[in-house]
Amino acid sequence: MSDATPLARLDDVGLSHDGGETFILRHVSLNLHKGEFVALLGPSGVGKSTLLRVLMGLSKPSEGTVTGPTDDGGAAEGRSAGKRRAQALVFQDARLMPWRSVLRNVAFGLEGLGLNRQEKRERALDALRLVGLEEAADRWPKRLSGGQRQRVGVARALTVDPDLLLMDEPFGALDPITRNSLQDELLRIWQQTHKTVLFVTHDIEEALKLATRIVVLSGSPAGITGELTIGAEQKTPDSPAFRMYAARLRAMIAGEADPGGAPYWRSAEI
């Protein structure tokens, strides 16, 4: 996997909001390979959302380079004549437009892709169905609960069928049952469509359940301080492997030395 051209990459990225006096991110290098499901863990305020914004091209890095799937001809293979977007982001705050109905919020990214009214409507409804909200299609966002709004944000990103799906704590506001079913739904979509997913979460168990690789962002300025590849044995809840990884991740997030030793501990570029 490490030889293939990554779908998207951050190369020694630094980000400062004050012209280089203080950095939020520094020396961040991350390769996202096609088909990976990467979970990004880190303490609150460390810079996870900032990293996603940089990857999405919404913030220009102060240092280093960003390569997204749009810049990469190889990654665009199989895109059906402009009816999709290369990448999409689920914002941490759902960020819906209050003047658009739920359906039209979901269809937002479909506009400008050359789809007709009916196609847009159908694709948006399909996405709403995936997140269990098709009956809310005609409602105004302010009539939704926080969790419902968040699911609309997920539907809006899914409906553009992106190669790279960036999700910023998408299931944070949900009850455990809805959360579980959306996690399963997301895994199913990921397996079927071979999307590449970068998923920010605070929840170590969620990260272990979903991801093929977990990356830890910590420190100030933040850098990638730990990385674990997740295999089948670590995905079995309450198995020793699961518990050991959870402990290692907790330590990495807290900024302590990795107690688990070296095997997955990343220092060089992978």
């Binding site: 999409a88 437009m97 658009r100 892709l113 809006r156």
Partner: protein, 254 residues
Amino acid sequence: MKAALSRRQRVALSGLGLVVFFGGWEAAVRTGLLPSGMVPAPSSLWQAWLDEVHGGFWQQAILDSLSHYALGLLFGSVLGALIGLLCGMVPVLDAFLAGIVHLLRPVPGLAWVPFAILWFGLNTSGATFVIAISVFWINFYAAYAAVRSVDPELYELASAFGHGSFLGRLFKVVLPASAPGVMAGLRTGLGQGWMSVVAAELFGVPGIGARMMQASSLLATDVVVVYMLTMALLYAVTDFLFGFVRLRVLRWQA
């Protein structure tokens, strides 16, 4: 605190207020408390109105004023809102126009009358110009403020979903997000427009204002009041009609 009044109670009370107002006025004139040469009795207004209608003056004045009003409102609102939106969106334009705006803003619409007469003459164009200017500023500032208060996170959202271009931001974010502010400006302009109509016509452009001026020079106070009430009625109608447009455009705020 007292319980809130129901809608019906409020309407009944405001009707009562009007009855007391006109009744008190009538009584004051009849008892000689108010000199009838200075203040017309409300009961004389009906006849004065009928005379104006029979002579065709009333209809003509309304038509003339409405055309000034509509044209002035159209130019003033469209230009004001448009330039306000652009200034709000384009910092370079904003900075470039800032000095000019500060220079021209304090000049009241009425102060433009000499130029209106000079440039356009005592005609529809001249009146339209004066009305447009006073409406312009209201809409300019309303639109400008509305754009400046658009949540910047919505621009980020637009960029993330392929609408980060100037036109994308304009049509997908700025226009819908600033619609409430722009509508509020339009509505204020709707009222301000009627005030300017009188001002613009007092100088002799035919219309309600000119007719009032003629009547007052003949001390026909009843006719003056008839046109004052006409103005109030026209404002009420335009504001009422605009209410529907507003409700329709801002359905999402309900």
